[in-house]
């Protein structure tokens, strides 16, 4: 692991407010917060609405990692049960609920893939609010865009980020598999993520 003395990356200074949001997404975001508030009050209907909105996405992410439908469903069920039991774990300010669920789904699936206890607390997953996925239209639009961006990435970047994200390999494991230096793997992953961000904001 390396430390940079100043870490002057431009994204550090970027606020989530920099990303324009449509009125629809703002409305949908408020709706997510409202649903969470209702879930906090044990409103089963609100929980079902969250489930209906994001379950396919969560399941698809878990399935992509695990490649096993029953296990993927187990992950999905546990995540939504967690939302039900402890909705405060996703508090306002952690970003969009959809993005948070997508990352948590990936992390939970990787934990299961590695047959290890969850090493990451959901409390650590914090996202900027720029990726609002509450609206079906906006979610599909972002999905289409990000797939195009990922597909257009250099093959090495694409491969590195997929190995890290969907297969849960460490940078050392990726380096060993690809034969590339460790630093190169890190750079490729970092570059791929930056390209995705830039592609979405374009």
């Amino acid at each position: 692991m390396s430390e940079s003395p100043t870490n002057p990356s431009a994204p550090f200074a970027r606020s989530s407010d920099d990303v324009p949001q449509t009125d629809n997404s703002t409305t949908a975001a408020r709706r997510d917060e409202q649903l969470i508030a209702e879930v906090r009050a044990k409103d089963q209907k609100a929980m079902c609405e969250i489930f209906d909105r994001y379950s396919t996405m969560v399941y698809s992410v878990a399935l992509r990692v695990l490649k096993d439908p029953p296990q993927a469903e187990d992950v999905m069920q546990e995540i939504f049960l967690q939302v039900w039991n402890t909705p405060d774990r996703f508090a306002h300010g952690r970003g969009s609920l959809g993005a948070w669920l997508a990352v948590v789904a990936r992390n939970r699936a990787i934990d299961l893939l590695r047959q290890r206890k969850p090493t990451e607390s959901c409390d650590e997953v914090v996202l900027p609010a720029r990726t609002n996925l509450a609206s079906d239209v906006e979610r599909n639009t972002i999905m289409d865009k990000v797939r195009v961006v990922l597909k257009n990435l250099p093959q090495e970047q694409q491969r590195s980020v997929e190995l890290a994200f969907f297969e849960g390999l460490t940078h050392s494991e990726i380096a060993a598999r690809t034969g590339d230096p460790l630093g190169t793997v890190k750079t490729r992953i970092r570059s791929a993520l930056a390209s995705l961000r830039k592609g979405i904001e374009a």
């Binding site: 692991m1 396919t56 970003g95 900027p128 995705l196």
Partner: protein, 271 residues
């Protein structure tokens, strides 16, 4: 002072993907706990990872997944049950209030129905009473008429006259029973000839005082030649010198038209 040493974006990305060793992750966590700047960067990278997650092809949920999830909400079920229970209690507690609101209206409605029913009964009783009154009046009238007939027939002062045809047999005949004081007359005819269409028999009272004959009723015989005139409208107190029957046009006449078919006069002594 030395510049703070931040976590590189590369390592933050690996940390976000849990791709660091436990020791490395512990060091990152330690730094993040004190560095807002790195926490913000980690949030941005995590947002980027969410984008990567969205590249996964969307697969439909396994059949029944939603139901299985809902079934795993015991708290929700209990909560919902409690909620429903409380709602039931709430509704139950509200029912008296609701009933108390409705009772007066129900009472009014019941009274209206009762009133309408009573009104209908009263109306029906009035109709029945009116019908009974009319029937009673008819019976009274019928009784009075019968008594009048009986009085005519049984009155000692009644004149009994047999009217016969003078020439042919069987002879047409008629019997008149007349009570002058009451203007009551009963006539019975026998063996009367049938009349052509448009013709009628007419009975006449010939006053004793010589005044013009008084029409005493129209009649046509039945198939056997019998006919009757019962209590025609006659003036009171007109003693009769004679009675006669003529054939007149339908609708009758004010004066008798010859020939006189039947004629009779009471005996001078009143027989």
């Amino acid at each position: 002072m030395t510049a703070p040493r931040h976590i590189s974006p590369e390592d933050l990305a690996l940390h976000a993907m849990q791709a660091l060793s436990p020791e490395e992750s512990a060091a990152v966590r330690s730094h993040l706990a004190e560095c807002t700047q790195c926490r913000d960067e980690l949030a941005s990278i995590t947002g980027d990872l969410a984008l990567v997650a969205l590249t996964a092809e969307q697969e439909p949920l396994p059949a029944g997944a939603r139901d299985r999830f809902i079934a795993r909400l015991p708290v929700a079920v209990v909560s919902a049950a409690k909620s429903e229970s409380s709602q039931v209690v709430s509704i139950a507690t509200k029912r008296p209030n609701s009933a108390s609101v409705w009772i007066p209206w129900l009472a009014v409605a019941a009274l209206l129905v009762l009133s309408a029913s009573l009104g209908f009964k009263v109306q029906r009783l009035q109709a029945n009473l009116q019908s009974a009154s009319e029937a009673s009046a008819q019976q009274i009238a019928a009784t009075a008429r019968a008594r009048q007939v009986l009085d005519v027939l049984s009155a000692p002062a009644a004149q009994h006259v047999l009217l016969t045809a003078a020439k042919t047999a069987p002879q047409p005949s008629g019997r008149a029973v007349y009570l002058a004081d009451k203007g009551s007359l009963i006539f019975q005819g026998n063996n009367l000839a049938q009349l052509p269409e448009g013709k009628t028999y007419e009975l006449w009272v010939i006053p004793a005082n010589g005044s013009a004959p008084i029409p005493a009723g129209l009649f046509r015989p039945d198939a056997t030649g019998n006919a009757s005139v019962v209590l025609p409208s006659l003036p009171l107190g007109v003693p009769a010198k004679a009675f006669g029957v003529t054939i007149e046009n339908a609708g009758g006449s004010t004066t008798p038209t010859a020939p006189i078919i039947l004629a009779g006069a009471p005996p001078a002594s009143g027989e």
